[in-house]
Amino acid sequence: MIVRHFLLDVHEANSFVVACEEDREAALVDAGAFDSAVDEFLHDEKLRLVKIFITHDHFDHTGGLPEYVKRFKAEVLCGLSEVAGCTATRVKHGDRVNVGRLIGTVLETPGHTPEGLSLAFPGHVFTGDALFAGSVGGTSSERDRLRQLDAIRKHIFTLPPQTEIHVGHGPSSTVAIESRFNPFFV
């Protein structure tokens, strides 16, 4: 499994390419801005971008989506049927996302936004702005805050402890680190 991180110019947002080494199929997780470095990486590694997974509908995670869709004709997966002016396949908790031979699972992590989703592959989970290293995403009400914490406890912290957590902003982490030391949970 290939996982490559890209730091974008927009709000220091992260974007990730996830790819199957055998089949050379790739997915992009979040698309805050079109980044030519992603294009070059896909080209150099001979990867075909077939899917774009949007964790949530905020511009720093979707701003580059129209350009990626135009260039790669990749299927957009999101918790909404339309995002950043692009038609999307609406996915929900428990849905499978195949990238070559890799099988990802959609996890609901609402709170930061109502449609917020995470995407888990064996050993890796992409959480967007639901969970950060040592922090959580901002919410607009106490109800949303509790909903977010509950979803993270239920769906992220139950993954194997060594699972790497790749987030929307800032450094990656692991389930072991966050479940043990994240100040919002302990």
Binding site: H5, L7, E12, F132, A133, G134, S135, Q162, E164, G170, P171, S172, S173, T174, A176, I177, E178, R180, F181, N182, P183, V186
Partner: protein, 174 residues
């Protein structure tokens, strides 16, 4: 040389050749080894035994050291941007001048460690233990020290606005 020593020397040689960037090395024992200036970017050394290792000037960008034993390690001027040092033990380590921008230091133990002049912009030292550590002249702009223990730490000449929400700062020098 014994078999384990041979194996260890071979691994050090391979690391020094630059072949281990991005590799999953796991819980290896490289305590006390000279790995100065090596490229271990994006490598996985989770839980590794690295006490007293010399990683000065090494490229460790995006590497995972979660839960590693890095006590008394020399990591001066190392490139640690986006590195994961959460739950690692850096007690007594020297990270002076290191680039720790956007590094994960969540739950890191860094008793008496030196971070003088390090760049810690947007780093995440939540719940970390920096008791008696020296962070003189650090750039801590946007660093999140939420609930960190900075008792007895030296933050003189540190620059930038950091988040110290619920941090322990008894006897902290600022």
């Amino acid at each position: 040389m014994s078999a384990p020593a041979d194996k260890r020397a071979a691994l050090v040689e391979r690391i020094r050749s630059g072949a281990c960037a991005g590799e999953r090395l796991g819980e290896v024992d490289l305590s006390g080894c000279d790995l100065s200036g090596v490229d271990l970017s994006d490598a996985r050394l989770s839980g590794a035994a690295l006490k007293g290792v010399d990683l000065s000037g090494a490229n460790l960008r995006g590497a995972f050291f979660d839960g590693a034993d890095l006590r008394e390690a020399n990591m001066r001027d190392a490139q640690l941007e986006f590195a994961v040092l959460g739950a690692a033990d850096l007690s007594g380590a020297d990270l002076s001048g290191a680039n720790l921008q956007r590094a994960n230091l969540v739950g890191t133990k860094a008793l008496g460690a030196r971070f003088d002049g390090a760049r810690m912009y947007y780093s995440r030292p939540g719940n970390a233990d920096f008791r008696n550590a020296s962070l003189r002249g650090c750039d801590i702009q946007r660093a999140i020290f939420r609930r960190a223990n900075l008792s007895g730490a030296d933050l003189r000449d540190a620059t930038g606005e950091a988040n110290f929400e619920n941090a322990s700062m008894e006897g902290t020098l600022r």
